[in-house]
């Protein structure tokens, strides 16, 4: 969705790709970006709002993909940082100021601090233990949101979040709000994308592929995992602040296990590790939830479950897997 440059860090790309192979993803990225930017001009306000929700969720999914797809840390509690950012941004908008960069920065900082406080335990584990620990942390944070009524409004949620303001002007118009969300979403995506393409990102992929080998080569892998966990939490916090700006309401459901698993679903549908795939996956998840959810007596998640089964069965590497031919399996074990 917010893809600026859709070329994945494909490790098997030839050293000198042909002009077309090199240029096409850039052209697609520019076209997608232009269409996204122009969307409010030809979409109905309701559709614009749905698109806004997609961008918010896409940025959240991208932050999770940095953990799951790039570093190989499958988190089931990532919504904790998304929700923490949303609550903090909402609270600051109500009680201090809703002036543009403030809720964003507060969301980013809260996501980062929450991830920093919890991450030092989780990154010492891996695999199923990481899954269980992040799940437990997610549940704990949701309980906290439910019970700490003074700050979070408890089960009713944090209501009455004012519109985000830019230069004193509140963004009441759905189109203006969308552009705000899109701009932040694209910036967040670019940030994550640059990190994933960097030498540091290469080390993260090394950890995903073979952590013991990375340690033997001299990488302090726990430090890397902790840093990426905090970064992913921070980006999730930014996405959370966008959620608060869009919904004007934050509820405990926003940091629930269901939200975490929807994000994970988006990453899997899109193909873990490609980042732009997570954006596509997020679009599918939000569209299915919003359009079919209402028409199927609230059984939208059922359809998502079906989509999930189909994707895992038909596209084991997600939508991103369609881009490159399957690699030949090793000749020997």
């Amino acid at each position: 969705m917010t893809a600026v440059e859709t070329r994945t860090p494909a490790p098997d790309a030839p050293a000198e790709p042909s002009g077309l192979r090199r240029g096409l993803p850039r052209i697609i990225a520019v076209v997608v970006l232009v269409v996204l930017a122009a969307a409010p001009l030809f979409l109905a306000p309701f559709a614009t709002t749905t698109l806004t929700r997609i961008v918010v969720f896409a940025l959240f999914a991208v932050s999770l993909d940095l953990l799951v797809g790039v570093t190989g840390l499958p988190s089931l509690g990532h919504a904790a940082y998304f929700g923490a950012g949303a609550y903090a941004a909402g609270w600051v908008s109500i009680n201090v100021t809703a002036e543009a960069p403030v809720p964003l920065l507060v969301g980013a900082a809260t996501g980062a601090v929450a991830a920093a406080l919890t991450g030092w335990i989780t990154v010492r584990t891996g695999g199923v233990f990481f899954l269980m620990l992040t799940l437990a942390i997610g549940e704990t944070v949701q309980q906290l949101a439910n019970t700490w009524e003074d700050a979070t409004g408890g089960a009713n949620g944090l209501t009455g979040v004012p519109s985000v303001r830019i230069g004193g002007e509140p963004l009441v118009n759905a189109g203006l709000l969308y552009w705000y969300v899109l701009a932040v979403g694209v910036l967040g995506f670019v940030l994550v994308w640059l990190v994933a393409r960097s030498p540091w990102g290469a080390a993260l992929r090394g950890i995903r592929d073979n952590e013991p080998r990375m340690r033997a080569v001299g990488y302090p892998t726990a430090v890397y995992k902790y840093a990426v966990f905090v970064l992913a939490g921070s980006v999730a916090g930014v996405a959370g602040s966008l959620l608060a700006a869009q919904q004007r309401l934050v509820t405990p459901a926003d940091l629930s296990f269901l939200t975490s698993s929807f994000a994970l679903l988006a990453v899997v549908i899109g193909g873990a590790g490609s980042l732009w795939g997570a954006c596509l996956g997020a679009a599918v998840v939000v569209l299915v939830r919003e359009t079919l959810g209402a028409s199927l007596d609230g059984h939208g998640p059922l359809v998502l479950g079906l989509v999930f089964v189909l994707v895992v069965y038909l596209l084991p590497r997600g939508a991103a897997g369609l881009r490159r031919p399957r690699r030949e399996p090793g000749r020997s074990p």
Binding site: D12, G201, R205, G206, N210, V217
Partner: protein, 251 residues
């Protein structure tokens, strides 16, 4: 000494896998560590690399006590290893795999934003050529043959600029041709790199090593030159598991 282990001990429950091992590896040596199955070779290897903590004893790297140091710290101090199961990085090409090790050890910073460093790539390709993988750089690791992956392991280990290179069963699962190639690669390594090779294949050991330590039931049975080891009655007994070898072995 390039490496000195004193009184290394590690038990798993009641089993003392490594039971008071003293080992000295001279600088520039090609030192082999051999022994029958269950001798404690792999455990000793892990104690030396720091993958596993010793219950007792010390490990010194070039005169410096590294017993309390992590694997990562030992790597920085010049100890590098190849692994028995050459799994490496399944999503990367051979060059990218080596480059990952090169960028950690060439003094440059590992920045979180895109940066082209041609020197890293060049060095990686140089190392690949050095282990006989010239021209295979853009091949994904899973598409390499088992033997090639073992060669790649050596290139990755060398990228860490080691003074002491530890090889864990480098010839395991290799064909005869691949073994011959490995012997060539090992023979061409710079003389100032000390080698410690854990190996099952005695032919390979005797064609590469200038010093051999035989491990048996967690203890050092014998340390000496290849000829001394070849001539030793005790070693034969350990390998054959019988006191009266003349009944098992003709000649």
């Amino acid at each position: 000494m390039a490496l000195r282990c004193s009184g290394l001990r590690r038990s798993f429950g009641a089993l003392a896998a490594v039971d008071g091992v003293d080992l000295e590896v001279a600088p520039g040596a090609r030192h082999a560590l051999i022994g029958p199955n269950g001798a404690g070779k792999s455990t000793l290897f892990k104690l030396v690399t720091g993958t596993m903590r010793a219950d007792a004893g010390t490990v010194e790297l070039a005169g410096r006590d590294v017993t309390g140091q992590s694997e990562v710290a030992r790597c920085r101090l010049g100890m590098s290893q190849t692994m028995q199961h050459a799994s490496l990085f399944a999503s990367m090409t051979a060059t990218e795999t080596v480059a990952l090790a090169v960028q950690r050890h060439d003094g440059g910073r590992i920045v979180p934003w895109p940066r082209r460093r041609p020197a890293v790539r060049e060095r990686a390709e140089e190392l690949l050529a050095g282990v006989g993988l010239a021209g295979r750089g853009s091949t994904p690791v899973p598409a390499l043959s088992h033997g090639e992956r073992k060669q790649l392991e050596v290139a990755v280990a060398l990228a860490c600029r080691p003074s002491l290179l530890l090889l864990d069963e480098p010839a395991a699962g290799m064909s005869a041709a691949e073994r011959a190639r490995l012997v060539e690669v090992l023979a061409e390594l710079p003389a100032d790199i000390t080698l410690l090779i854990v190996e099952h294949d005695l032919d390979l050991v005797f064609s590469v090593a200038d010093a051999v330590t035989v491990l048996h039931l967690g203890e050092v049975l014998l340390s000496g030159t290849p000829d001394e080891v070849r001539a030793s009655e005790d070693v034969r007994e350990a390998y054959l598991g019988a006191k009266r070898r003349e009944e098992l072995f003709l000649g």
